[in-house]
Symmetry: C2
Subunit: 301 residues, 2 copies
């Protein structure tokens, strides 16, 4: 069945051999990330146009590679959809997927297509590479490091809230939700210039992703609420703290590191500091602080 | 959701960073293969015990790496299942999956778990490696090469037929169906000793897989029906020609190549010859031949 359906795949999907052979630059080692995108979990067909679904499912993987400071090389797409899904939807999915792939020079190097009993399900694998031993891990944060973030936080769930209200947000005004740009160049810059001591992407939301860095590094942190690059109001603050799918980079750097204010066109904001201990706290402008619990956005939905 | 469910993953699944970093031996390049295993397409819960489903879904990927002559290194598992699936089934799945992984020294290096709207769906990615430029491709068959196969053909669909009749075959007597052994060592031997000019695995059935080699190599072939290592009778012949999921290796080698009769404990049988042109034919003991159409087993089911 797969080979019959594969006829509907665009050019670039290699089914000519048992495996794809991926050439890496000399001295590089492979990075691998996999991401499921499941209908009614990660997207809704009534909310997300097909090309946005295709774009977003690849963006998740590219963002993981960016968070290691790596170069994305190849993507593999396994796509399952129900028989009755219109071909137009599949074409739209590929159009968004391939547009992002082209923009980031990532080759669609293989995959699988199958019929699903219910709903659309895409599993992507991105293979990237990094000079051997040079990946930026979550475990490298040290006490005294500053905490930084690229771009703005909370924009994606802000769009989600508009969608939940039954409104139709203009896609061009809500690109961070519908067509997020992975911070590939910023991640590479931070790795090449040895600026980031630890890094991850904000796919789950700042409170969760910062907890990952702190846990892996065995440290605590304080976040300055006033410094967060975010939308206004209490809702903007909650979205910045707990909203996922922003695909910004969250990283730590030594106070001695010269972190630019702008990297590859993206603003960099200092939002906190790494502390001794295990506690993660959020402080206001008056210096009052309270614990920052790692919570996903679904708790607020 | 994924992180919450990930608690049920066995040790060895790395969720500590954004990507898995996979170390490769010096001078090696990565091989990547992805395979969907979908309930009621690739397996049935009433036919296949959970550990067989887990085993088979990994075996498919290992077999793809074997068919390039590669070394399997790491596997990534994305598993979606319905909320109501018993934990016992999931445990059984992992038990079969990890047993095979251990046997072939492949590390479960990451993945994703999600809720599926209906049915079990597993997508696996196996990352392997091969010395740079040394992969055995499907495109290397030359006119005059002999065609070989490892093991026996048709055993897997023979079990499938028993299952279709509503019988309960003993698993120990039907291991090639329930617990197929990928021909990793044989593939590596053939690559290291430069014996195979082209290679693939018999995942789709001999008629289909041989057509892939011929198409990619721009050649034709003749298969000698009498020489096929198979079960007796006309049904045995059809199973050998068109039955998939045997995960044997199908390869070609120069007439000058000294191909052993046994490699890594597996019998090697010469079953045909590569010819000029595009036709693929099957010949009987009397030398009469007819076209061999590439047909999957479902046509006979």
């Amino acid at each position: 069945m797969i080979r019959r359906l594969a006829g509907s795949l665009p050019q670039g999907v290699g089914i000519g051999d048992d495996c794809a052979v991926v050439a890496l630059p000399k001295g590089h080692e492979p990075l691998v990330t996999t991401d499921f995108s499941i209908e009614n979990v990660h997207f809704r067909r009534e909310w997300h146009p097909a090309d946005s679904v295709g774009w977003r499912c690849l963006a998740r993987g590219l963002s993981d590679i960016a968070a290691m400071g790596g170069d994305p090389r190849a993507v593999f797409l396994s796509l399952a959809f129900p028989k009755e899904l219109p071909q137009k939807w599949v074409n739209g999915f590929f159009s968004g997927f391939l547009k992002l792939a082209k923009q980031y020079e990532v080759q669609l190097a293989g995959g699988d297509i199958a019929e699903s009993p219910a709903g659309v399900l895409a599993d992507i694998v991105v293979l990237g590479s990094v000079p051997k031993g040079k990946s930026v891990l979550r475990s490298g944060a040290r006490v005294g490091d500053f905490v930084y973030v690229t771009g703005t936080l909370g924009a994606s769930v802000a769009t989600l809230e508009v969608l939940r209200e039954g409104k139709k947000p203009r896609r061009s005004a809500h690109r961070r939700h519908f067509y997020p740009e992975p911070r590939t160049k910023a991640g590479q810059y931070l790795r090449k210039n040895r600026l980031a001591s630890a890094m991850t992407d904000t796919s789950d939301g700042l409170s969760v992703d910062l907890a990952h860095i702190c846990e892996e590094s065995g440290v605590g942190a304080v976040i300055y609420a006033e410094s967060l690059p975010r939308l206004p109001g209490r809702k903007g603050l909650l979205a910045a703290l707990h909203g996922g799918e922003d695909y910004e980079l969250l990283f730590t750097a030594s106070p001695k590191a010269k972190v630019p204010a702008l990297i590859a066109g993206v603003h960099i904001t200092r939002i906190g500091e790494i502390l001794d201990g295990k506690a993660i706290r959020i402080a206001d402008a008056q210096g009052r602080s309270k614990p920052l619990q790692p919570e996903g956005w679904q708790h607020f939905g």
